[in-house]
Symmetry: C2
Subunit: 349 residues, 2 copies
């Protein structure tokens, strides 16, 4: 019984052979289809849980399990270590994901999820933006210019014409490299500095906040800024109790759409939102977009904390696309004894 | 950054090159050392959790996370599908285990844990038996002759002289093959049939219960059986709320030693035990065995539900032993972008 292994190189080849646009489009399309058909009775997602620590470095390691009733179990393991880029030249998010057959408990696939996490986080923002943002060309503001900023802007550019990007980061080095990193998407980038943060918000049709702001150190948008009445915000960074990106005055006027309500109440922007400001979850947005057309002219927030189901879908797309292109390795990982009741009867042939 | 991969073949080679005795001894010794030094302040074990279902087959898939403060995180994923042996010619327990560096979130190792789980479950029974069973040669009774029975008897034979094994299973096929499966240990096996179950218990110095009894269908030892006053029971099978192996009359007279109290109260024999019958956890037994010498003449139960820390130790032993023998593969699993803030900058060289 073998296990499909998708390594860094396989994901790199997948990205190279399909190209970022096609890979992103596949994921956006599949997420749209699967979320449209989402039936909570047929999916069991367990609350994300994990270890949080400050030694040897500030970080967390979390497991995100999900199960299709009668179908596979997928668990993504995701590490978030904000000092990685500066201290270890590594991305702050490192992740792997695995899929099990629930008939036998056999591990069917294991894959890198670092790339897939970034792409799916962009893709769900694109889906929320499709429903909640004004139609027509948009100016996108981005606060926090790390890895997620690349896939946020890229994903938005697949569902809307993005005329320009207004970009801001507290770290000048991240800010300085952003235009190069998003260059492949062919969108003009204007990097802005702190005094212009209010202007950035005021000029945006869609805003993505994808920062590593510390717990209790938010919000990342100043209080009292002006904004277009139809501003749609994809709030991607908050994923920790006490970590928020959006200021209270915006929350008080906005409608928030959580990806997963329970999780958003625990660690998303919904933490600080009056219940009356919280709208339905992402699947309802996707299922009946016309119901939300009035929201396109109003202030909206997509509260994206990351849902294990999205990771399951991303893994499925990766496994299928890899198979199509002949990528990936099949390994025999699990020791299946020759005699199922004798753990020592292992063949080495 | 690479990840050590220990596949079925690597584990098979490890078993072949070291031999079952040396591998078991290494694990017993390491578990004894680590449990003796166990400091609850320096270890964080999260309650085992998972998905339980009856479609497409009765089963569960669980995650067992543990963390050393300042050290690695280990998560074992274990599937338990009791219909595997008869319906799919697979072991009921299939497991894999992974280790992360908590400084960066990097996945350091991934290994089959099917063999390791069986061995470590035997090894901890041996440790409890060392402390709680009469010294000198013993007769071992075994109820439930699946895969765990092999490693239970084998492990006990590494810490005590086992004169004979009295073996029982509700399934005649499992019973018929047991003597062959334990033959390598050189211990005479007497397979007994149901009418003689009382005699099996009555003649045992140490008893291992390692059955797949259904929820609410236990106990597996009949009520009212006679037993030697010094009987020590390793109760290995109960690992599910409502699943028990030991009858109430024995529980009422015994002292129970849980591996992990909270887990044993939820899913072990401690579920049905009066609080006064529950003694300290395994690490205290190992740390101060002389304190428990009087227990060697009394009825004792080691309530073994399986502790993630044991799996961490088993994985460490496997990784070290594999390195020593030049076994295992190093793969680059995680996509580390060339530029840490650009998820698309993946090298395929």
């Amino acid at each position: 019984m073998d296990t499909t292994l998708l390594t860094a190189r396989d994901l790199g080849m997948l990205l190279r052979e399909l190209g970022p646009d096609a890979l992103m489009d596949r994921l956006i399309d599949r997420l749209r289809d699967r979320l449209r058909d989402f039936d909570p009775e047929l999916n069991e997602t367990r609350a994300r849980d994990g270890f949080r620590y400050d030694k040897p470095a500030l970080g967390l390691l979390e497991w995100m399990p999900t199960r299709e009733v009668g179908g596979p179990v997928v668990v993504k393991m995701v590490g978030y270590h904000p000092t990685n880029p500066l201290q270890r030249n590594l991305p702050s998010v490192l992740a792997t994901t695995s899929m099990w057959d629930s008939e036998s408990g056999h591990l069917m696939a294991i894959a890198d999820a670092t790339l897939l996490t970034a792409i799916r986080t962009g893709a769900v923002s694109a889906l929320a933006t499709e429903v909640l943002a004004r139609s027509g060309p948009i100016t996108v503001g981005v606060i926090g210019l790390g890895a997620q900023a690349v896939t946020q802007v890229h994903a938005l550019s697949r569902v809307r014409r993005v005329d320009r990007v207004l970009a801001y980061d507290t770290d000048d080095t991240a800010a300085a490299s952003f235009a190069d990193r998003i260059d492949f998407a062919g969108i003009p980038v204007e990097v802005m500095y702190e005094p212009a943060l209010g202007a950035l918000v005021a000029s945006s049709d869609v805003l993505c906040t994808c920062t590593s702001v510390g717990i209790g150190e938010g919000p990342v948008i100043p209080l009292g800024v002006e904004h277009r009445p139809w501003l749609h915000i994809n709030a991607v960074g908050a994923d920790f109790p006490g970590k928020i990106e959006i200021p209270s005055d915006l929350i008080a006027r906005a409608t928030l759409f959580p990806d997963l309500l329970a999780q958003c109440l625990a660690e998303g922007e919904c933490q600080a939102a009056p219940p009356a400001r919280i709208g339905p979850e992402l699947p309802e947005l996707i299922r009946t977009p016309s119901q939300f057309s009035a929201q396109r002219d109003r202030l909206t927030v997509f509260d994206s904390t990351g849902w294990a189901l999205e990771d399951e879908i991303a893994l499925s797309v990766a496994v299928e696309s890899a198979a199509e292109l002949g990528l990936g390795t099949r390994i025999v990982l699990e020791s299946i004894p020759t005699h199922p009741l004798d753990p020592y009867s292992l063949s080495v042939d």
